[in-house]
């Protein structure tokens, strides 16, 4: 009996809901994170329930907006606004415009459950829309954090341009994320550099190889460092950093932050003629970078499960310069210090830091528990088509989000 119940609970769909302040309109969303698969992006599918006789000729509209915030609120001088809001799509939801609408399984189930006053809606992200990124604010920063955000806003109005009233509108902050491709490539990123010195012969060689091209959040990044010293200088110490590169396309600036670092004197000094090989491990984590200004994160600060921003992927046939919003990339930087006069030898090896695609982890580690895999797969269309209606768990959307409606 118990395992059966347990299974039933796990299979139940979790639905997020949020109601307007006046309690007349409720929005249900199947999820808050929408995945960009490069060739397609998950549609924003939901249901609206309107209380009987509330509208009286008025209509319900929905819109998806993205907000770019590229400067702190308190730095806004002279009436400049460091944020821009784009309306990605806007549609009338009630009364239904289209006769027959394709519905996702979640919508079908919710519609069955919520009855006559429920109306489905479906929004598509435009192709090449940027991923959600939040730049962590510093201690002394007030106001909204910098980054790219998405908001679904449902409002009641007479016509489309009617902005609606606070009491009858509701805003839900959603995230658009990218997952790693199902297979992590076999290519091992590596870099080989050498350095000559003025007034002395011979070269110092440094080779850095990573054990993967794509790492999942929380994984150890292993860097194999090979130093061959053919010069007459000695290497005093070795430093390794995980560098997060952040390109803000809206203002055409980029900056880098060290998100993990390590300094060692192991094997040092590496004297002329000697060589040194060792594997170093670094773990880039959001939790070890708390309160550091400008670290890019995947989501909101108040989320418990916040992680460093995932690397930005671009679709085939597009260059990284086509990417928009905030473009994230990572690299391992190795620095050999040859003393004050000798200078430094530095190299960067790029890698990607991402979320595993649903199912990818299971493929790699068959030992993972079964319920986890079901949980991962719960968005795959087929798994709940024949389920009982009662297996819907409603969760308040607002509880985890800081974006309240106006």
């Amino acid at each position: 009996m118990f395992p059966l119940l347990f299974l039933a609970f796990v299979v139940a769909i979790k639905v997020f809901k949020k109601t307007t302040p006046n309690g007349k309109v409720t929005v249900y969303l199947g999820k808050r994170d929408f995945i960009d698969h490069l060739d397609s992006i998950d549609p924003i599918d939901g249901i609206i329930v309107v209380e009987n006789d509330y509208l009286q000729g008025r209509k319900v509209y929905g819109q998806v907006t993205t907000t770019f915030r590229y400067g702190r609120e308190e730095d806004e001088v002279m009436g400049v606004k460091f944020s821009k809001e784009l309306v990605l799509c806007r549609e009338q939801i009630v009364p239904i415009k289209k006769e027959k609408q394709d519905m996702t399984p979640v919508q079908e189930r919710l519609l069955k459950r919520l009855g006559a006053n429920a109306y489905p809606f479906l929004f598509q992200f435009p192709q090449s829309s940027p991923s959600s990124v939040t730049l962590q604010p510093g201690d002394d920063d007030q106001g909204k954090p910098l980054g790219v955000e998405y908001t679904v806003r449902i409002y009641v109005g007479e016509h489309e341009e009617d902005k609606g009233h606070k009491r009858s509108s509701v805003a839900l902050a959603i995230k658009k994320l990218q997952y790693a491709p199902p297979t992590r490539g076999r290519k091992l990123p590596s870099s080989l550099v050498s350095k000559g010195f003025t007034f002395s012969q011979g070269k110092l060689n440094l080779e850095v190889t990573l054990d993967r091209e794509i790492y999942y959040h929380g994984e150890k990044v292993a860097a194999n460092v090979i130093v061959t010293n053919n010069s007459r200088k000695a290497v005093k110490n070795i430093k390794l950093f995980v560098v997060q590169h952040c390109e803000v396309t809206m203002v055409n600036t980029q900056f880098s932050r060290h998100v993990a670092s390590l300094e060692t004197r192991e094997g040092c000094p590496i004297t002329p003629g000697a060589s040194f090989t060792k594997q170093f491990y670094l773990v880039p984590l959001a939790s070890s970078n708390k309160d550091r200004r400008g670290i890019a994160l995947d989501g909101h600060l108040k989320d418990d499960d916040v992680n460093l921003a995932s690397s930005t992927l671009v679709a085939d046939g597009k260059t990284p310069s086509d990417a928009m919003g905030i473009v994230i990339s990572y690299s391992i930087r190795v620095k050999l210090n040859c003393g004050t006069l000798g200078g430094e030898l530095v190299t960067d090896v790029p890698f990607k830091l991402m979320h595993p695609a649903p199912g990818a982890v299971e493929k790699e580690k068959a030992t993972l528990k079964k319920n986890k895999s079901i949980e991962r797969a719960r968005y795959e269309n087929s798994c709940y088509s024949n389920d009982d209606d009662d297996n819907i768990v409603f969760e308040d959307f607002a509880r985890l989000r800081l974006n309240e409606p106006e």
């Binding site: 915030r69 002279m78 990605l88 106001g143």
Partner: protein, 379 residues
């Protein structure tokens, strides 16, 4: 209008009176009549050719100046008080605004001296008074000019690279120290009479550097101070604000391009409103530029005419007006830079309820980011 009429009338009258052998009555005396011979150095012969202005001139000016004094004190003291005691306002950019307010206050310190001088119709304290008056004027005048340029630079940095461009408080402190160094050479040199000197001007109740002595040293001095305290700050202001506008235009363009790539038809703010962002900033920048011109062009013109041009046009009234302009602008400064600062207004409202400011509280978790909701927080 009345002022201007007087300007034209009083000049020629002076000469007519002289040529016609008209004996002035006790009420119509030449300028400098009350300066004893031991201080006659203070009065350039140029001024002795004009009639002494009537008492109403002195009293009128004293009245105007006392109003300016009140305005300047209220405005600038509020700025210094609130910006230095409110934690949320203690940012690097605001250090410049406080610095500007300090220069404005220094300028206001001149005014009590002027009012007393006006009533006795001569410079009080003679040479020492004149030096004090001129030092206050020169420090505050040049300080304001260069601080305006520094503010332009800070805004340019903040706006062109909003993410990491803004100055930190150390850099801001260095720049403020530079503004103080900026004012020293042309204050200390004339004070020590090494190069140039301070002397009375106009109604002989104010003091400034000497631009009338007819020698090479003075002419070069006037040229240098003209470039140092007028041309250079003005160039900085024009350059930084135009760069600032350029980067705003770039940002807007970049954003429109990205919206286009995403096939977004409607920006929340449509094209017209996007334009107006640039326009609004341009207006603010132009206001600041125009106020700078208004404050210092009259003074610069008078000095240049005195040194190189036709001095006949430099009547006492015409030379009194530039100082009035400069001081009026130093009263407007706090209103331009600070009162338009939304956070400052909020703070002021909190502390001084009697002022009747109604600044809506910004609600942080609201979608205040919308472009269409821009408030009038210009400058």
């Amino acid at each position: 209008m009345l002022l201007r009429n007087q300007t034209f009338v009083s000049g020629p009258l002076a000469f007519i009176g002289e040529e016609a052998g008209y004996v002035p009555s006790m009420r119509e005396r030449f300028l400098g009549w009350n300066v004893p011979p031991e201080y006659s150095d203070l009065v350039h012969p140029h001024w002795r050719g004009f009639m002494a202005p009537g008492k109403y001139w002195h009293i009128g000016l004293a009245l105007i100046y006392s109003m300016l004094l009140a305005m300047s004190c209220v405005g600038n003291c509020c700025v210094i008080w609130i910006f230095s005691t409110s934690k949320s306002l203690r940012t690097a950019s605001n250090m410049f605004i406080v610095s500007l307010a300090i220069f404005d206050i220094i300028m206001a310190l001149e005014i009590p001296m002027f009012i007393v001088s006006s009533f006795v119709e001569r410079m009080i304290g003679w040479e020492i008074g004149c030096d004090i008056y001129a030092v206050l004027g020169s420090v505050s005048g040049m300080g304001q000019a260069i601080t305006n340029a520094a503010i332009a630079f800070d805004r340019y940095r903040t706006i062109s690279c909003p993410i990491d461009g803004r100055l930190n408080s150390k850099q801001a402190a260095v720049i403020i120290a530079i503004t103080w160094f900026w004012v020293t050479p042309f204050t200390v040199l004339p004070l020590l009479k090494v190069w140039g000197r301070f002397t009375t001007e106009g109604f002989l109740t104010t003091c400034s550097f000497d631009f009338l002595t007819d020698d090479q040293d003075t002419k070069v001095f006037v040229m240098c101070i003209f470039i140092w305290s007028y041309v250079i700050p003005l160039t900085f202001i024009v350059y930084f604000y135009s760069q600032l506008l350029k980067s705003i235009r770039n940002h807007e363009k970049m954003l429109r391009e990205q919206a286009k790539k995403m096939n977004v038809k409607s920006l929340v703010s449509n094209q017209d409103k996007e334009r107006s962002v640039e326009l609004r900033i341009a207006k603010v920048a132009f206001t600041i530029f125009f106020l700078f011109l208004l404050a210092w062009t009259p003074y610069a013109t008078v000095a240049i005419i005195g040194a190189f041009g036709n001095r006949e046009v430099l009547t006492p009234v015409a030379t009194m007006l530039p100082a009035l302009f400069a001081k009026s602008v130093s009263c407007i400064d706090p209103w331009i830079y600070a009162i338009n600062h939304p956070r400052y207004r909020q703070e002021l409202q909190k502390r001084c309820k009697w002022m009747g400011i109604h600044e809506p509280e910004t609600i942080h978790d609201s979608a205040s980011a919308q472009t269409e909701k821009i408030k009038s927080d210009e400058a």
